[in-house]
Amino acid sequence: MKIVSGYKNAFGPSRNFTGKMGQFGDTTGGDETQYADAEDGTPVVVDTSESDPNDAGDMRDAGADTLAKGASGAASDNGGNIPPEYMGDPIFLSASTVLSSGSSLQTPNQEALRNPFPFVVEVCEIRFLLTTVLSTTGYVAPNPYNSPAGNVGVILSLSGETITQAANGIPINLLCPGQQLNAESVAYGSAAGNTLASFVGAFAGSYRLVLKTPIKLLPNELLDVQLSSLGVLNSSVTVQVSYLGRTRADLPIPDKRVLPYFASFNADSLYQPTTGDAPNVVVSKETDLQNVFDQSIRINRFVGRINGFYFTASTPREAGAPGPGLVGPFTEFTDSSCSGQINAHNGYLPGSDKVLCGMTKSTGTPTIAPNTPFRLAFDGMTRSWELDDVLAPRGYYIAQVEVDPPSENIDHAQAPVYIAIGMHAERTVAVGS
């Protein structure tokens, strides 16, 4: 039997609830509530206050009532002592790992991320903090919006249930919509003047995913996370993963729960073609943005990011010469006005008006009209499109992305762009299935 004494509600003692007879009562369940095991071992709230246990019995949800009475349903004199506005205590679980370029899957400390309590815990938010250090002089554009989040993949699973679809994981910047683009990635260090010069320092990227429906973790359960390098990382990246949520000792072990599901489409590197040439187009496969389950899933968001490379100061790209060999930081183009940016080191970066997209659902319904600017489909401020849709079992979206040539033949060096679309969904699964 585990007793947690002196348990205090995060909001302090509750006051002034309305009881069955409309009376106002004062419960101090938050001050002196203790937890004990019921006859069958499930946690039970044991209230040691002097409040009338019959008060507010009909103000609490069924889960709390069940808990108070014990899973066996046996009545106790503890009913009514969990205030209706109980929201649990906040919890913060965190662990980190170092990811190197080309490294295989890395797993942060599992025990640090496991639910440590013998009762249900809800994970409401997942956060990622990425930090890199440039140990030698490296080149970075004066626009310090550089973050490797597009090159770090995340694989999530829960007790064997799939949460992320891709084998190598979903890029972090597809999992997380843009909250404050300026703050997603910051650079700190020293620069030789305020020009395109060598930069010695480090980058930090902060990303945050607020789950539409919190994930209920069972006692001692682990929301498993693995990280992978999806491509070129200029240097090692330290990734800190954090789960934020709240304890829900008032809830019984659920029979079913809502789990998120994330899928992605990553277009191959696209070069902006020369004026007069045809656009470069990439179409997703049916298995990219797909519902892989035999049940319907609820789509609640698309995230769209345009990523690219910067060149090194010592090896600037030659004009008109596309090709691999880029070493600079992989980053996302943050600015909308990064349209046709010409730069001796970066080459010509196609921007908002030259990256287009379209999307169709497997039912044939058009979702995004063809030739829609990418930034207008996925909001320029949040990089996301919040929506509410249902995708049938094995249904999918087909996305087409393209990079158009500039209207003028500008003497430029071509830099590749990596266009990525993430799909966020939810589904209901049985616990222990």
Partner: protein
């Protein structure tokens, strides 16, 4: 949830599409002599099989290749949104209103005023330090979005009728090569398909005011409700555009933003509009909504440029704004734009 009145196979076919998200888009060019009109045909709403419900309009305004290879150095970049006005209609219902734009006509709203500022760098972008055209930015762009308070329901085949006008606010010109080129406008209408039209429509509404030299207060009709319905306003958004002169000697409009290291911040007393301008808002009865004129920077803070303004304005009534300050707009170095945003309820389509 809208009910589906169709039967049998039609019902099954339609219900499959009900509530599907949709993003329509269209584009065109606008010049000083040729406004751009975008409607249902351009947005391809006519190919849809369902009525739609729109939640927002998104705009991308691009001065394509404003700076070409070999042009002179620049240390500032223009804000394209400063040059564009929008007139919008949903069928017979007007969505925009303005009067104080001489020579242009009514109903044109500065497009930047349709959305609170969220992230200046992402809205129009800025780069620290000076740049040369050969190695610098080529095509400045502005991103604007009009999020509706309530979704706008439109019947089958109908889309908002949008007209974009390039208003050349003198003495500024378009920079570099952009002076000879059109401005590209891209529009997307975002929402979902619905089963049937609701009984009442919530029509978004934006009323604009751009102070002009010699007319620093609102006129009688700037913020007067002439829609025949009560308009429920929710916010006032302001965009302070300032006239800047680049190292290349060209002048153009740029949005003033302290986050922008290149924004032309002139700390000399009397020239910073956000510090010197004061505004006082009055209702239709002449009662001041503030005790005294309030500084612009307090009403419209730097991070949002938005004043929460919950006010139900009846038909025929007006809101008046009095300007109590100096140097605007007489010195023509500032062009503050204002828009009251809200919605009104109309009967069935």
């Amino acid at each position: 949830m809208a009910r589906n009145r169709l039967r049998g196979a039609d019902a099954a076919a339609v219900s499959e599409f009900q509530n599907d998200p949709i993003c329509l888009s269209a584009s065109g060019v606008v010049t000083p002599l040729q406004p751009l009109q975008i409607g249902a045909v351009a947005l391809q709403a006519n190919f849809l099989r369902q009525p739609i419900e729109l939640t927002e309009l998104r705009f991308l305004i691009v001065m394509e290749n404003a700076f070409g290879n070999g042009s002179a150095n620049y240390n500032f970049q223009p804000t394209p949104a400063a040059y564009i006005r929008l007139q919008a209609r949903a069928g017979r219902w007007s969505m925009t209103h303005s009067t104080a734009l001489p020579g242009v006509g009514s109903g044109l709203v500065p497009i930047g005023c349709l959305t609170p500022r969220i992230n200046a760098a992402a809205e129009y972008g800025f780069f620290p330090g000076s740049f040369t055209v050969a190695t610098g930015i080529g095509s400045p762009a502005s991103y604007c979005v009009w999020k509706f308070d309530r979704p706008l329901a439109l019947p089958l085949g109908v889309a908002p009728e949008l007209m974009f006008q390039y208003v050349p606010p003198g003495p500024a010109t378009l920079p570099g090569l952009a002076a000879t080129r059109p401005i590209q406008i891209y529009v997307s209408a975002v929402g979902r398909m619905i089963g049937e039209m609701p009984k009442t429509q919530h029509v978004p509404y934006a009323a604009a005011w751009v102070p002009q030299s010699g007319a620093q207060d609102t006129s009688e009709n700037d913020f007067r409700n002439l829609t025949g319905r009560t308009v429920r306003f929710r916010k006032i958004v302001s965009r302070p555009y300032q006239l800047v002169t680049s190292t290349a000697g060209e002048t153009f409009w740029q949005e003033f933003c302290r986050q922008d290291p290149n924004s032309a911040i002139n700390e000399t007393a009397g020239t910073d509009y956000s510090k010197t301008a004061k505004l006082q808002i009055f209702d239709d009865m002449g009662r001041g909504m503030q005790r005294e004129p309030v500084r612009y920077g307090s009403l419209f803070p730097e991070d949002t440029l938005t004043l929460p303004f919950h006010y139900d304005l009846e038909h025929g009534k007006k809101i008046a704004v009095s300007y109590a300050g100096q140097n605007i707009p007489s010195n023509t170095t500032w062009m503050p734009c204002y828009a009251m945003l809200g919605s009104r309820e109309e009967s069935a389509w």
